[in-house]
């Protein structure tokens, strides 16, 4: 099941071409009430069942990063991604992005990543990287605001230019957007959109929040 926003990512991992595909509209037809079914979303399942951990080539890598407690926390993840040069720049990978990614994947609510969650994270990062590289033509590891705008739209979100500008400004550093901030933005957009949509069953594009639920929903992301 391919989700918009990833290009080649989303279907069965084996055999998918690595290049970024032009983004199609959201799954299931035109967006309802201005937001997509799954824009920029993260698919929940892999096609193939996981291998036995010890036979998995990523297992050694995982245990090295996870250390004594056998799970990866935000700081360990940051170190790992910085060393792996995932952001494509010389600056450390954002700790806040690591925290957000762990929150997104942390199904057993430990605040840390187990091995399966770790593998999912790497797959998601690859998908995001493909998408990002489509816009980062000069391979600087950054994109410009208008390219970020295109990237967000290509994920299927329908957001006003005003809202887009606010969002992009929030994630810019010196007028450009770095990969790790791009990831944070994508993850947050998805989480907030899902939270909104869960409360908008009638798809009216508008939700009436109580203060307590508003705070709980927006503070926990």
């Amino acid at each position: 099941m391919a989700y918009p926003g990833y290009g080649g990512y989303g279907g069965p991992m084996q055999g998918m071409p690595p290049q970024g595909m032009p983004m199609q509209g959201p799954m299931g037809g035109p967006p309802q009430a201005g937001y997509p079914q799954y824009g920029g979303g993260y698919p929940g399942n892999f096609a193939a069942p996981p291998q036995q951990p010890v036979n998995d080539p990523m297992w050694g890598y995982f245990t090295a990063i996870a250390g004594q407690d056998g799970e990866i926390d935000a700081e360990e993840l940051q170190r790992c991604l910085t060393q792996a040069g995932v952001s494509g720049t010389y600056t450390p990978f954002s700790l806040e992005t690591c925290r957000i990614m762990i929150a997104m994947l942390d199904r057993d609510m430990t605040g840390k990543l187990g091995f399966t969650e770790f593998k999912e994270l790497f797959a998601a990062l690859n998908g995001w990287k493909q998408n990002f590289m489509m816009f980062d033509q000069d391979r600087s590891g950054t994109v410009e605001p208008h390219e970020m705008s295109q990237a967000i739209t290509s994920m299927g979100y329908r957001i006003s230019p005003q809202a887009l500008n606010t969002v992009i400004k929030r994630y810019s550093k010196s007028g450009r957007i770095y990969f790790d901030d791009y990831v944070a933005c994508a993850v947050k957009l998805r989480a907030l959109t899902e939270a909104f949509r869960r409360r908008d069953q009638m798809q009216q594009g508008s939700v009436n929040f109580q203060y307590d639920e508003f705070i709980q929903c927006t503070m926990s992301i």
Binding site: G34, K188, L192, I221
Partner: protein
């Protein structure tokens, strides 16, 4: 000015700030910047462009030992604080904004130290719960649990995460309150506005 269900007043005591800026009359009271003892400090931190970015603020607060631990002060918290005070929406802080922040930080630090009874530099979830209530916020145990979990690291809350939590709570409460003119504790958000407000906080 207390809103039902919100508790926290707009910005004075005992709301999020908790204290007058250290070093004299309040904001805008100094006749000239150059005479202000804090100005020298500001220019050292701000560097060439005369404005403080999130990274420069992080360095400054880490060196001033606000983080109280072995980790640098949280960069995301710095960004949040700049965002909170950034009246000219430049994404950086000028001198007046910096002064305001310095005063506010001292207030927060005092408050934090009063909750951190064992002086460990961190507070536990229960202390955090009391701190948030004492600021005037009325939130369900469920909401509080989500918030505390989000801002904890290894089960405790450090000062910079405590600050991040206070700033976000205040900003989001303001966002909500502006749409709840009737003070009923309910507000309607169209999707686009919801995204704009919550993504930028």
């Amino acid at each position: 000015m207390n809103y039902p269900g919100y508790g926290a007043p707009a910005g004075g005591n005992p709301g999020g700030y908790g204290g007058a800026p250290a070093g004299g009359p309040g904001f805008g009271g100094f006749p000239s910047q150059q005479q202000d003892p804090l100005f020298g400090y500001f220019t050292a931190v701000a560097g060439q462009d005369g404005q403080i970015s999130a990274e420069e603020l992080q360095q400054c607060l880490t060196q001033a030992n606000f983080s109280g631990g072995y980790r640098p002060f949280n960069l995301e918290t710095c960004r949040l604080m700049i965002n909170m005070l950034d009246r000219d929406t430049s994404g950086t802080m000028g001198f007046n904004e910096f002064k305001e922040l310095w005063g506010v930080m001292n207030g927060w630090k005092q408050h934090f130290m009063s909750i951190d009874r064992d002086k460990s530099g961190t507070v536990d979830p229960q202390e955090m719960n009391q701190a948030v209530s004492s600021m005037g916020y009325r939130l369900s145990p469920q909401a509080m649990n989500s918030i505390i979990k989000r801002f904890s690291f290894q089960g405790k809350i450090t000062f910079d995460d405590y600050v991040a939590c206070c700033v976000k709570l205040r900003t989001l409460t303001d966002v909500f309150r502006r749409r709840d003119q009737a003070g009923q504790g309910m507000a309607t958000f169209p999707y686009d506005e919801f995204i704009q407000c919550t993504m930028s906080s």
